[in-house]
């Protein structure tokens, strides 16, 4: 039996039982040992109770999606077993507590472990159940408990008693697995080939980090799942840097104060999810009209309305592209992975500042809360752009031309405190000085001026944001956006391995769309597949506004990310019918 060192493990149980932290310890421990990882977590919208689960895929090579099916299922209770047993791969492993779960049979390998009994009777520490599980899976799948010990110490370093109890539970579970179970499956991590320094972080962590790198020094937000950790991170970090983070009274105030801060000279950001983004709509237009840079992170969750707050959906693209009355400049950027969150949020700030417009950053629930192991970025290569400042000559005119007509549409923006730079930032149509008394005439000049910035931005996006993945002579092309990038790429790899000619394009700047690149890609293949985690195919429809294409849609609206095979199947289907 050859050892397999890539494992997809899923843990399910009652919310509050520690399912997620058990999985997280295993994931973090693996990463520290040098493994790549990709996690997914989902918990009920309720605080206590309801069904929570966690999935981690670890492996020696880069992992870019949840993977297909489940290799190891850890069922904390009967509900978890029944909910997830069908995802278990044919050669999969079931781990369960025989006192709460009675398996239906037919599983290749089963390891019954009496978590509850061990925690309650042997350790007299019922809340340590999840640590028993952590220890057991470490033991079964070849993770040194020492690699976990440090993490546990970090978590409980302020409460030595709890730390001790948890460590005991960990070793107890580990010993149980090592001594009482007979290993029957091929999954085993063991010592990795190389130990590379990687960062293990979530999408929300990466957004906070990237924003700080980009120079963000003002943040305002209102709590909302799954964006709250951005507020929490900013609240902790910004004061250290002389910046400010404000918990505003609502999302309207959040974006309003961000625009005020930006006017006052700060690089500024807010983060929210769909309901909050909806409330920000009116201010988007004001930022566009007054040409005030700002970055709005939307961690999309499943809608419509309050919908499923802890579930995934790429459902806010339409809103981001089109919301707001009248036509105004904006940009929409969607990162493809946790690592990409870091780079693209810097890009978002750069675009906001360079083109003086609002940039919507479309993250989502899976990016927000999943962790990935990311190669340490080359910090020297990070480029940060600042807004155009007025020259000394600009400030010597009797009135400052804040909205001067230029070829690029970009005008210098003064900061309060600057003598000679005074202007009023108007929501009304205005002339070069910002004066509002001749709006009809101004409108005819200013609409094209503002649009010119979007065109300039499109050119930049076309240069940078659109690398082709896969066969140069592909017959089938996939176009995706946002957090599906990894699943699409793995599906492409598999299809190529199976002999199909396939390639993928994944624009990061989705508005303004680099439509020429995309048209070229479309024209280079015979069939175009557009996978999206939403019901109506928002991106597929949007593509058609700019590109001549009849996309074949793959829509998943189950609240969960794609497994690569769900996309691969469509490639096969198209290839076979072609």
């Amino acid at each position: 039996m050859t050892t397999r060192s890539e494992i997809i493990m899923r843990l399910g149980g009652e919310g509050g039982e520690g399912v997620i932290s058990a999985g997280d310890f295993f994931a973090q421990g693996s990463a520290r040992t040098g493994y790549h990882l990709f996690t997914f977590r989902t918990y009920p919208a309720e605080i206590k109770g309801g069904h929570a689960w966690y999935q981690v895929r670890v492996g020696p090579n880069p992992v870019r999606s949840m993977g297909d099916g489940v290799d190891v299922l850890v069922a904390f209770n009967a509900e978890a077993y029944f909910n997830h047993k069908d995802t278990l791969n044919p050669d999969g492993v079931l781990i369960y507590d025989p006192d709460t779960v009675t398996p239906a049979g037919g599983h290749k390998t089963v390891y019954p472990i009496p978590f509850n009994k061990i925690a309650k009777d042997e350790l007299n520490f019922f809340r340590g159940k999840n640590m028993v599980v952590t220890g057991a899976i470490a033991g079964l799948f070849g993770l040194e408990p020492s690699s976990l010990e440090g993490l546990i110490k970090q978590r409980f370093h302020r409460r030595p008693e709890l730390l001790e109890q948890n460590l005991r539970a960990l070793y107890n579970g580990y010993d149980f697995a090592r001594k009482k179970l007979e290993k029957q499956d091929p999954f085993y991590l063991g010592e990795p080939a190389t130990r590379v320094a990687r960062l293990v972080l979530s999408g929300n962590d990466a957004i906070v980090a990237g924003a700080l790198f980009a120079g963000c020094r003002y943040y305002a937000g209102y709590p909302i799942t799954p964006a709250s950790e951005i507020l929490e991170g900013m609240a902790k970090e910004l004061p250290k840097l002389g910046g400010v983070s404000l918990q505003a009274e609502d999302e309207i105030a959040s974006i309003g104060s961000v625009i005020g801060a930006s006017f006052a000279g700060a690089k500024a950001m807010t983060a929210t999810s769909g309901p909050g983004l909806a409330l920000m709509t009116e201010f988007l237009g004001y930022a566009g009209m007054s040409e005030t840079p700002c970055v709005i992170v939307d961690a999309q969750r499943s809608g419509p309305s309050t919908g499923m707050p802890t579930k995934l959906e790429q459902g806010d693209l339409n809103h981001s592209l089109y919301a707001g009355h009248g036509d105004f400049p904006r940009a929409v950027i969607a990162p493809g992975s946790v690592g990409d969150c870091f780079f693209q949020i810097i890009n978002a700030f750069n675009m906001a500042e360079r083109y003086q417009l609002p940039v919507i950053f479309l993250s989502d629930q899976s990016l927000s809360h999943r962790t990935e192991a990311v190669t340490m970025p080359d910090l020297g290569k990070i480029k940060v752009t600042d807004r155009l400042q007025p020259s000394a000559a600009d400030l010597k005119n009797s009135h400052f031309q804040r909205y001067r007509l230029t070829a690029s549409g970009i005008s210098p923006m003064s900061v309060p405190g600057t003598p000679g730079g005074m202007y009023v930032a108007p929501g009304l149509e205005h002339d070069e000085l910002g004066h509002v008394d001749n709006p009809l005439e101004s409108h005819l000049k200013m609409m094209p001026k503002r649009q010119a910035k979007v065109e300039a931005c499109r050119q930049e996006a076309s240069r940078d944001c659109c690398a082709r993945y896969g066969d140069p002579d592909a017959k089938i092309g996939l176009i995706g956006w946002g957090s599906t990038e990894g699943a699409i790429q793995e599906a492409v790899d598999r299809a190529r391995a199976a002999g199909h000619k396939v390639a993928a394009l994944h624009p990061k700047v989705v508005y303004p769309l680099p439509f020429e690149e995309i048209q070229r890609f479309v024209d280079s293949v015979s069939h175009v597949i557009v996978p999206e985690v939403n019901f109506s195919g928002q991106f597929a429809r949007y593509l058609r506004t700019e590109v001549d294409v009849h996309p074949i849609r793959v829509n998943k609206y189950a609240g969960l990310p794609f497994m690569p095979r769900e996309i691969y199947r469509k490639i096969e289907e198209v290839a076979n019918h072609a």
Partner: protein, 284 residues
Amino acid sequence: MPETMAQLITLAPKDFRSEVKPTWCPGCGDFGVLSATYKALADLHLKREEVVVVSGIGCSSRFPYFLSTYGMHTLHGRALPVATGIKLTRPDLTVLAAGGDGDLFSIGAGHTPHAAARNIDICVLNMDNQTYGLTKAQASPTSLLGHKSKSTPYGVIAQPMNPVLLALAAGASFVARGYSARPKLLTDMIKAGITHKGFAFIHTQSPCVEFHNTFEYYDQRVEEVPADHNPRDLEAAMRLALHPDKFYVGIIYQNERPTFEITAHEFEQEVRPFDGAAYLSQFA
């Protein structure tokens, strides 16, 4: 902040006037508030570039265009959140917010108490005309019971909002009242409001001569805050605000407490530049 004597004497009230001619109807109460503001800024020796005037939408919210300072003419009801972002970013600037009764107590009613509770150092000029001027004479949250307007043809049936009482209840650390027809007092109030370290709310009756001329009504009811009133006494302040007939002008309440923007910038004793590598190491 003035730095040299030379600067102290440079600016006259008219220097704070922009080249834009106010679009208000002749006789509009808002002219009184504007002139008082020019005078207050000059008296306080402020520099044009260190003042930002933020407003919402309404006749009164055209205010920023008529000043030669920095300014923002934002969205209906949203002057205070925007002003908050400015002040938090640049505590050194003098930030004024201007808005009507509708702007600050109807659509913006949710922001006013939060700005007050935070005690952010902004001076609010609330130009109350008990009507919606810009949209041509619908009822406003301060219109009196029974007031017939285009939108309330059978009369207003909601109890009018009491801006002064609401500001007090929300925790404003400075609350004053003025009247367009009393320019001298108004100037004093604005000066006191700007000088006050913290959230200063100045409620002015600024009648709309076009749609709801209340000059006569207030001429009869206006009265200065009694000399023996103690502006640190919140209950006494509320009593003045609740007076059924008299319209008390002057400083109604004043009490200092730490301002939001200063405290927010003092969480960390020592501010350091961002050390990216060190920051990322927590994830390694």
